[in-house]
């Protein structure tokens, strides 16, 4: 089966500083993939580069194919039929992505006519349908309001409505819930799950919140310093993270139950892309690092259980039992 989107060896450099070191990623039809990692690991840059949205000074190489058609290096007009139409993207801050001086109804209608060629009453009816679909109450009456008259959560819903206007095959959600309150965040995750069930579109969910990713996605890629270091299904990753970085991300999350112990941070910080070591970029922060990790880089290998992992000294496999169950059985 061919994939909806295939990214091969995607590299990005800003001012000859390489920030993305060859990303290979497939997105299947209707699939939901999470991209996690700390800030500055290249999660957003991957998709901005794939869609040609980076500024001109960025040097991008590699291949991005949608249903076999190459996107890299094609003419702008060809790219624009894909952007918004086949692949839509929503961002963290909805209020800065909406135009503050245009009524929201008009902004959605504009997207509908641009991508689907609908005009007049039909376009308006479709815009209203989208507003209903993303859960804006009383859409008819609020069609002519301005973005500032909506709350942050509703602005994000409006952004999703605009993103859905072109009936995309793939929705890329870049930290869509980070700026929202806890109860609104839960609503938004619910909405993303529901929309995917209704429309069958694939979703890429970029987030630093492993909890949120696990609600929405089936497969997760963990990124560190411009590379994918582990890729696995949600169940595999949560039962038994193998890369020490993935494990560290899990351990650092404070718990809502159990004892209130000291947290387990990952020491140090994400490396500066200008001064990357020759070896594994995570080695300076890694509890399992051996001397050779500093100058040899592990390749992203496929393991027997289907996951991809780039590490010489991974966390040992847990014999397919979740950690907590093992503890209970040990008592």
């Amino acid at each position: 089966m061919s994939h909806l989107v295939e990214i091969r060896d995607l590299k990005v450099a800003f001012d000859s500083v390489q920030v993305l070191h060859g990303i290979d990623l497939n997105v299947g039809r209707g699939e939901a993939i999470g991209l996690v990692g700390e800030s500055g690991c290249g999660k957003s840059v991957t998709w901005l580069a794939a869609l040609g949205l980076l500024p001109g000074k960025a040097a991008v190489s590699g291949s991005v194919r949608i249903e076999g058609r190459e996107l890299r290096g094609v003419h702008r007009s060809a790219l624009e039929s894909v952007r918004g139409g086949r692949i839509a993207m929503i961002f963290q801050d909805p209020s800065s992505a909406l135009n503050p001086v245009l009524r929201v109804g008009r902004q959605i209608t504009e997207a509908v006519s641009l991508h689907r060629g609908l005009r007049g009453e039909t376009a308006r009816a479709e815009a209203l349908r989208l507003m209903d679909m993303v859960g804006i109450p009383d859409a008819r009456r609020r069609f002519d309001l301005y973005p500032h008259e909506f709350s942050g959560g509703q602005c994000q819903r409006l952004m999703i409505a605009i993103a859905l206007a072109g009936e995309p095959d793939l929705l890329i959600a870049d930290e869509p819930t980070t700026a929202l309150d806890a109860t609104i965040q839960a609503q938004m995750l619910d909405l993303l799950i529901q929309l995917r069930t209704e429309t069958g579109m694939a979703t890429v969910f970029i987030s630093h919140d492993l909890g949120a990713v696990s609600q929405v996605c089936e497969r997760v890629c963990v990124m560190y310093a411009g590379r994918i270091v582990e890729q696995a299904s949600i169940a595999q990753l949560f039962a038994n993270p193998r890369h020490p970085y993935t494990r560290g991300l899990f351990d650092a999350i404070p718990r809502l139950d159990g004892p209130r112990d000291r947290l387990i941070p990952i020491p140090g910080t994400v490396p500066d892309p200008r001064y990357l070591a020759a070896g594994c970029a995570f080695a300076p922060r890694c509890p399992n690092a051996a001397a050779y990790c500093d100058f040899q880089r592990p390749a992203l290998d496929t393991l027997a259980d289907g996951r991809h992992l780039a590490c010489f000294n991974p966390v040992p496999p847990a014999n397919s039992l979740p950690v907590r169950r093992k503890i209970l059985e040990g008592v």
Partner: protein, 328 residues
Amino acid sequence: MVAPLIEAAALSRVYETRRGVFGKVSSVRAVDDVSLKVSPGETLGVVGESGSGKSTLGRLLLGIDPAQHGRVTFEGKPMPTFGTAEWRASRAKMQFIYQDPLAALDRRLTIATQIREPMDIHELFEGSARTDRVAALMAAVGLRHDQANRYPHELSGGQRQRAVIARALATRPKLIVCDEPVSALDVSIQAQVVNMLRDLQDELGLAMVFISHDLKVVRNVANRVAVMYLGRIVEEAPSDMIFASPRHPYTRALVSSVPVPGQPLKGRMILQGEPPNPADRPSGCAFHPRCPFAIELCRASVPELRPVEDLRAAACHLVDSANAPIAA
């Protein structure tokens, strides 16, 4: 019972806004009749959504923003009026840590200068002792001594927040109010800073008011937690208790909205509707339009915050003082 370090009684703060030059004045009740106590060495967590008044409450506690009603007592004495010499002197004993360290630091001064500044202003310690103390503070928050002459933009987000914390500790305060101190940091760095705050608190016996929307962090840091909704405290209890068995419907919704890695979203109590506009406060219990259990009484009368069991207070008509939880 230890005498509280800081005590607030019936604090209220109303902001007046006008739509346009000739528009009607509308008032926003940001904090409404809030009372709380913090003992020496204790951490009180304050949680709530945006617009719940938690940041305003922090500012009221330190007198940065004067309350219109109610009073704040620090070490048994009333808080001096904002802007007076006594108020400025009191700043040495209480400090504020903001969410955005880049905005809180002066971009043109090195971090060593900035950590030293509070000691210069309050004339604490003598000449070279100040320099020694800057070095000691930097070590305490985990900054390297070679970073002393760096400027804020040369540090990472986590390092900047450490510098802000070192500066807040310079005058040996007894109380620190932290407003979302780790919200802008990555989870791995967040854990570093949270551990550091806990260690410093143990060593120095600091009292903290920890304001955050992140329930997981608050649970880890705080001894006691107050949940705010539209300017009022709706539930207050020890940290372990409030997260293990929330009683107020809003607290229950908040706790259940936290995504736990590996647990599906099913069976959660997902609130419908938006957080209400503070300028257009619903009648009765402000939570009633979103509350799945609301009855007629909730629309009509505001529930008082009252003790419902040992160590726990809640403001809900439907939480009775017997131990029975409300119908789920």
